[in-house]
Amino acid sequence: MSAHQLAFLVLGVLILVSALMVVTVRNLVHAALFLILCFAGVAGLYVLLQAEFLAVAQVLIYIGAITVLILFGIMLTRKITGGAQPPLASHWKAAGAGAGAFLLLLLYVAMTGQWQVSDQPPMDSTTTLGLALVTRYVLPFELASVVLLAALVGAVLLARDETR
């Protein structure tokens, strides 16, 4: 067994277990912490794929920014001790349907996609990514930035104190 295989095995188990814990654990803060673990595992997968940029971006955005905000939100809205929540919320049917549909989609892509395997070491992924973003995928890129801008404006609007 090579290091790669071992690492993949460990990471896969880690991701699956922590993802399961996110949805089953009763304490919201614990769920957020397991989410971090899950994200970290995904970042590890990217490293195995030699997509270093994606790996660090995963850590930077998902762990460093998003979960911090999630934790922040939980702490602001929950009691300090984080009262236990029922693991299955009221919308579990809809959530299950959505997740199932997504699973099917993923399976379909995985089955039908044409996966290229190459012995060549990958190019400098940062340059490739950057070029692709501003040339071939410039429309989605710009759309995403417009969405972000809208979110930003909305946040400012919500946070503005009307009394002042």
Partner: protein, 438 residues
């Protein structure tokens, strides 16, 4: 490192009988990290803490640690031993697992950062020269925020929760201007690798064309590591000790160590990205040879020693207890001897990097000795209303310059220098004291 017997060879030899040769790179990597941690970071942090306390003592006209070892050099070790002996307390209602893990979430990223930082010229002085080193840097440092928040939350203490919330808001807010400022050097160097960025500064350090970016980075990084004017998460006089109020023993020690490691890290990063890393001023164009750098090092250290001596002499009327100037001479002599005898270019480059870093660390200590703490709303408005727009303007100017060749970045910096000059003049002429009243 170019050892005659390589680490890889040893590990491979040990693993081969077990049929696990495939794991060699992984194990080598882990061992490498361990060696870096034990041989580089722990001693550096230990010495650094001593140095910081000495500097603070110097600013505050006291001696600093003096009891343990000659001039108190072993004080940090004594402190660590003391912390290890302390009882590891858990508050009754604490979330035990999270409470136990939080210090590691703060300390481990602080150490992981060193993986990509080039301490000197050549491959031997960087653990793993990632092509995305800079992104790695920001990514890893952002993890420690989680440790601080969870520490504050899991303690089940209102003060520490307030500390955790404050730090979450602060870290998220200041990550933005810091990242914006960090985008400058790769724009000019054309690479995200840290050694690549250092190499690009051979002729001119990035602090010259990017003085504004450097300043934004330094201020935002101070807030990121919760250093003095921005140390609200652990504001002692307001939140008792903030997020770490319930911690004891070595868990507290980890926060403490992580904090000092972070102080060192931001200075090191600033050195690498903006102060030219191991390049010497005005000698950048020349090939790095041992005698030149040796002379330059001696000159620098002599200047330092002389400066310290001068300060001491000027203040001798108040207190003659601190005789610091000889320390400057001794360190200059030791360094000169090392440089001249060994003549190791790589080693010299490490020394240069560390000297620059120490100067920045001194600035850090200077701030700590001088400034009061800002208030939380002032912190936020400064970050969002001053640093973020400035960072955006700076980044846009640099990007425009990089794309078109029109020197917008230079113009912006010129404006910045003019502004700073005006500000200094203003501050000099405006004597607040009591001229207006009484």
């Amino acid at each position: 490192m170019n050892l005659p017997i390589t680490l890889t060879g040893i590990v491979e030899g040990a693993l081969a009988p077990l049929g696990l040769q495939g794991l060699t790179p992984l194990v080598v990597y882990l061992l490498d990290a361990l060696i870096i941690l034990l041989l580089l970071i722990m001693p550096v942090v230990t010495i650094l803490i001593w140095l910081l306390r000495k500097m603070l003592g110097f600013i505050q006209r006291r001696l600093g640690p003096m009891r343990v070892g000659p001039f108190g050099v072993l004080q940090t070790i004594a402190d660590a031993v003391k912390l290890f002996h302390k009882e590891d307390l858990f508050p009754a209602n604490a979330d035990r697992v999270v409470f136990a893990l939080a210090p590691f979430l703060v300390f481990v990223p602080a150490v992981l950062v060193y993986v990509v930082i080039p301490f000197g010229q050549g491959d031997g002085f960087v653990t793993k020269d990632l092509s995305v080193g800079l992104v790695y840097l920001t990514a890893v440092t952002s993890i420690s925020a989680i440790g601080i928040i969870t520490a504050g939350w899991s303690s089940d203490n209102k003060w520490s929760l307030l500390g955790g919330l404050r730090s979450a808001a602060q870290l998220v807010s200041y990550e933005l201007p810091m990242t914006l400022a960090l985008l400058g050097p790769p724009l000019m160097a054309g690479t995200l690798s840290l050694s690549g960025i250092v190499a690009a500064q051979q002729s001119v350090w990035f602090v010259v064309p990017q003085a504004l970016g450097f300043l934004i980075y330094f201020i935002a990084a101070l807030a990121e590591i919760a250093h003095l004017p921005f140390d609200l998460p652990e504001a002692e006089s307001e939140l008792v000790a903030g997020y770490n109020v319930e911690y004891s023993g070595m868990r507290f020690g980890l926060f403490f160590l992580g904090e000092f490691a972070n102080s060192f890290t931001i200075c090191l990063v600033a050195t690498v990205l903006f102060l030219g890393g191991w390049h010497l001023p005005f000698l950048g164009g020349l090939p790095l040879t041992s005698w030149q750098t040796g002379l330059a090092t001696v000159a620098t250290m002599a200047l330092l020693g002389g400066g310290i001596w001068y300060l001491n002499w000027r203040r001798a009327g108040w207190t003659s207890a601190t005789r610091w100037h000889w320390l400057g001479y001794v360190s200059a002599a030791i360094l000169a001897a090392i440089v001249l005898v060994a003549g190791l270019v790589g080693f010299i480059s490490v020394v240069i990097t560390l000297v620059k870093t120490s100067l920045l660390v001194f600035v850090l200590m200077w701030l700590r000795g001088t400034l009061p703490r800002v208030r939380v709303d002032q912190l936020m408005s400064f970050g969002w209303k001053a640093l973020v727009p400035l960072g955006l303007v700076n980044f846009l100017a640099l990007a425009f310059q990089a794309a078109t060749g029109i020197p917008t970045g230079w113009v912006l910096n010129l404006l910045f220098f003019v502004f700073v000059g005006w500000l200094l003049l203003f501050a000099w002429r405006k004597r607040w004291a009591y001229s207006a009243v009484s």
